[in-house]
Amino acid sequence: MSKFNPIEKTIFALIMSAVVIAVLVPLMFFLANAFSNGTEIYEYPKTPFFSLTVTVKVDYLEESNEYQVLMKNKSGDYINTINSSSGLMLSTYFEQYFSVYRTGEELLSDFEITKTEGPQEFTYYKNMWHNFKMFFQITSNADNALKNSIVVVFYTIIISLTLGSMSGYAMARYRFKAKDQISVFLLIVRMFPVVGISIPLAVILIRFNLFDTMIGLAILYSLPNIALTSWITSSIFIGISRELEEASLVFGANSFQTFIKITLPMALPALAASSMYAFLTAWNDTISALILTNENPTLALAVYQAIGDNTTNLQYAAAGSIILIIPALVFTFVVRKYVNQMWGSVSL
């Protein structure tokens, strides 16, 4: 940093903080939604922070012998929510709209005091996992979808890394006719919109009895990723000195052993980066899954359907999205270690 003067430092700091804000703010709103209860989700304006507790003001209405429950929102106003004397009704309402898990008897005994002392405020802890529980309840096939997603990701990585790294190696090491054209063509495949390929592919997959299977879906996801993997790995393979492979050949390995034990480990950063792209393509896609599956949706598709089915309970879909994010986060962070792992100052 010392090579920058104060003005440059300030500009640099401003840019960096803008980047941080641009990443953090949407993330915070996202989390705030996912952890909102049924009432908070419709609050306006939204705050980027989620609350751990719910505060209600309870008044005892003598004429109807009911408790009037008013929820305190973030700006401090009270909103009338429910008037009731039934413990069951109160308990159900609290669970559904406040994400507070408390039995009817407990609530009634809490509120008893308002009969003598007048209106009182009560603060309850929200059950933070309520939305997640509800997400799995309303999307009946969510756990199956999670399994499907993992399977399709696994297939996609296997297919695109095997074929992609092989073609990348060929691009880097061998001279053959139309090599440039082929490598450009690979990029063109990458440009196809997936929807465009999905529909004709659906017809083919039905013919091969692969429609609505994960392997069929993985084939579609692999198409652009084979091209990408081939590009990424070939640039790394070019950088790997031939002498390293030749040394292995002289010291007793055949060419297959050399590829597995010498070339591939050194291309690990490229493979890690490619597998990350493959993972993200397969994990986040909804539109192709929508076209190519029928009864076996992936998790991303399940979340999408949860939004479509529950326009009133968006927080459940938001919770589903969190479930969708976590494996992607974990995978990316694990793989990132290898992407950054270059072998010191030794030229590859």
């Binding site: 000195s241 050949l249 002289v250 390995a253 690990l268 072998w343 010191g344 100052s345 030794v346």
Partner: protein, 368 residues
């Protein structure tokens, strides 16, 4: 029968391309230290790559112990190699690097362990076995490459300019270590270099190549004092030999080798040698240290010419005198440390140590 034989070896990279190695014939005895020496692009590296099997051959044959090895894969040829860029695998520790050839032979772990440690000890890298190559200096990486090549106990050791990436000091010390290793292992070694000092100090025999053709095969002394071609005489030695294009003419019963600068009277032995070239041109080659400088008087025996010393380059133990006259640049190595530039000097050939070359073929004129 020789241990390694190269028989009419040819190499071209494309069907109609130039011959990179042209009809090469060479016999190497067991335990010999052979150095391939030549300017870059002369085919020396290609030749050892053909011996190692990394390069196909276009014609001829290579035999080891009488058996042709050209159809064998590199791993089955019993060779081990040290590469110019060391070729130490960066994703393996030093130990793994050295153990790799043994692991491929399915050697038992404890046996392997002993061998790796021994090789590491011999090359002074015993303390670095757990490190990665990126944590080592260039010289240490070179030692790893040497240890790895040693551990397989090869029949043939191939070294492809292994010292060219090291700095000058390390190069000299590694040089003597390689020589030492060769002496202890006694494996047949082929060493490629373009550095004549390396070649001179290491080799039992030097093979000097140019444009894919062997110019001379001989001991360091032979290739220096008994050059086969003009190329060898000009390539070896710092400064290289001095050349004079001279005309042979008989004057008063004496054979003179004359040009605009030189007038050298041949002795009887030399007269017999060049008798076919009377009244023709030949090339005279004289090593810089075979020319004697006289500051005071003209000595008739072996007299070359008299001139003024144009430049004097002190080298510590001796000086190099440079004379630039009549388009001839003559460099003379002399022990006269106090010689001043621009002094008049008389030059003589010591003991008639002159090499005569044919001006067309540039080959040495020898007794028939």
């Amino acid at each position: 029968m020789s241990f390694i034989e190269l028989i009419n070896l040819d190499k071209r990279y494309s069907a109609k391309g130039n011959l990179i190695v042209n009809q090469m014939n060479l016999k190497i005895e067991q335990g010999e230290f052979i150095v391939f020496l030549g300017p870059s692009g002369c085919g020396k590296t290609t030749t050892i790559r053909m011996i190692s099997g990394l390069e196909d051959i276009s014609g001829g044959d290579i035999t080891v112990d009488g058996n042709s090895i050209v159809s064998l894969a590199p791993k089955d040829r019993g060779v081990s190699m040290i590469f110019q860029s060391y070729a130490v695998w960066p994703h393996m520790t030093v130990y793994e690097n050295i153990a790799y050839p043994l692991r491929l032979k399915h050697m038992k772990k404890d046996e392997r362990d002993v061998k790796v440690k021994l090789a590491a000890e011999k090359t002074n890298i015993g303390d670095y076995l757990t490190r990665y190559p990126s944590q080592l200096s260039g010289g240490q990486r070179q030692r790893v490459a040497v240890a790895r090549a040693m551990v397989v106990e090869p029949k043939i050791f191939l070294m492809d300019e292994p010292l060219s990436n090291l700095d000058a000091m390390l190069r000299v010390s590694m040089r003597s270590e390689l020589k030492n290793i060769h002496e202890t292992l006694n494996a047949t070694t082929i060493f490629v270099t373009h550095d004549q000092a390396e070649a001179m100090s290491l080799a039992d025999r030097i093979v000097i190549m140019k444009d894919g053709i062997i110019q001379q095969i001989g001991t360091p002394k032979q290739v220096y004092y008994d050059c086969e071609t003009v190329f060898v005489a000009s390539f070896i030695g710092t400064p290289p030999a001095n050349f004079f294009k001279v005309h042979l003419e008989e004057i008063k019963n004496q054979l003179h080798a004359k040009n605009e600068l030189v007038d050298y009277i041949l002795n009887d032995e030399e007269r017999v040698l060049v008798k076919d070239y009377l009244n023709q041109e030949v090339i005279m080659g004289i090593r810089p240290e075979n020319i004697e400088i006289n500051t005071t008087k003209r000595v008739p025996e072996g007299f070359l010419f008299e001139a003024k010393a144009d430049f004097v380059e002190p080298q510590g133990s001796h000086i190099i005198v440079i004379i630039n006259q009549h388009n001839n640049v003559v460099k003379v190595s002399s022990p006269l440390l106090d010689l001043e530039p621009k002094t008049k000097i008389f030059l003589n050939v010591k003991e008639h140590r002159v090499m005569f070359f044919d001006p067309i073929t540039e080959k040495r004129i020898r007794k028939v």
